[in-house]
Symmetry: C2
Subunit: 178 residues, 2 copies
DNA sequence: TCGATATTGTAAGTATACTGTCAATCTACC
DNA sequence: GGTAGATTGACAGTATACTTACAATATCGA
């Protein structure tokens, strides 16, 4: 039967999945930034570096599909990474609209060096749970994100978003797509 | 044994809990905004309305503790709610620094009317999972958020943050703390 | 009571995150 | 081959989210 307008309490907030997701995200960012403070990289900037490392010569639009971040937002992120000299932007010869993204030497170095801190952060987020529960949570969360993919404004389009890149082969991409 | 600098792939991103939390939060907001589009309320604005409804005469600082949102951020949120005439701000007589928050008539009406849409949104977020899995995920997430409370920049200080309010008894708070 | 300390709201600055729009450019169809 | 429609990066605008700083005010200790 339909819930007949029960009184509104804080439980309406505290038990709502949306609220829990928000809280958890805030906690996760907080832990990430703390662990990685020595590198002055945000989670989004880190993810961008990984994606550019994995797909050298990717453009901003495809990058946004690969990490499921908004294209507009990514513009600023790229700007900051460039101003920190962690990446380089080169105009494409085939398409004058496109700017290709590459890791700089220092970008590659930062990415290599930050990995242990990132792993430590990821561990800390789940630390309070029992190991078995961590695994369960991750499994369910992965499923849920995947099944809800289309519901998000920027659905993840992992490797298949990069088909165009393979063609012209801007150098030695080791198309690491299994 | 320590992982000997394995090659960096996109899996370093896709399987990281932090990334999954971010994705899920984006999806959750997207669904919330879609379901509640008729009311032009964001998740944060909704949570603020609930908290002000539950604790009439609360001030901004305590509100931030009750919903675990940043105090600075909340300033803007309150401003927007006020400019939409959903809440009212009255200076406290006991403390000239403080501004007390109350729902306006139209704020109370909006809160009442939006509840079904909010519930629909919360259901949709978990919809793709089997009912048993939904419960498991919520349980684990609740635990994790609670146990990580102090790790976040703005730890939740639910009802106990409101002790001061009870004293002067700014009206009929039904201290619904079990 | 007076001075150090703390709290409150506010503001400025940075960084996501999303909505639009726009000009330049590319593609495809006719 | 020339134009309609799509794509690309950029920009403007709104809304969290956090940091630091600040003035006004409160409070507490000596």
């Amino acid at each position: 039967m339909p819930s007949k307008s029960q009184p509104i309490t804080m439980d309406a907030v505290y038990t709502a999945p949306g609220y829990l997701f928000r809280r958890m995200q805030q906690i996760a960012v907080s832990i990430f930034v703390e662990e990685c403070s020595a590198f002055d990289l945000t989670p989004v900037q880190y993810a961008s570096l990984v994606a550019i490392h994995t797909h050298p010569g990717i453009d901003a639009t495809r990058l946004s599909a690969v990490i499921a971040f908004d294209r507009s937002t990514l513009g600023n992120v790229i700007e900051r990474l460039e101003s920190k000299a962690l990446i380089e932007r080169k105009p494409s010869r085939e398409d004058k609209r496109v700017k290709l993204l590459y890791l700089s030497k220092s970008g590659a170095a930062v990415l290599r060096d930050i990995m242990p801190s990132v792993e430590r952060a990821q561990l800390r987020m789940l630390q309070p749970l029992k190991p078995a529960d961590r695994k369960t949570l991750l499994t369910l969360l992965t499923q849920l994100v995947d099944l809800n993919n289309e519901a998000s404004r920027v659905p993840l389009r992992a490797e298949d978003a990069l088909e165009h890149l393979g063609k012209q082969g801007e150098g030695a991409l080791g198309t690491g797509v299994s």
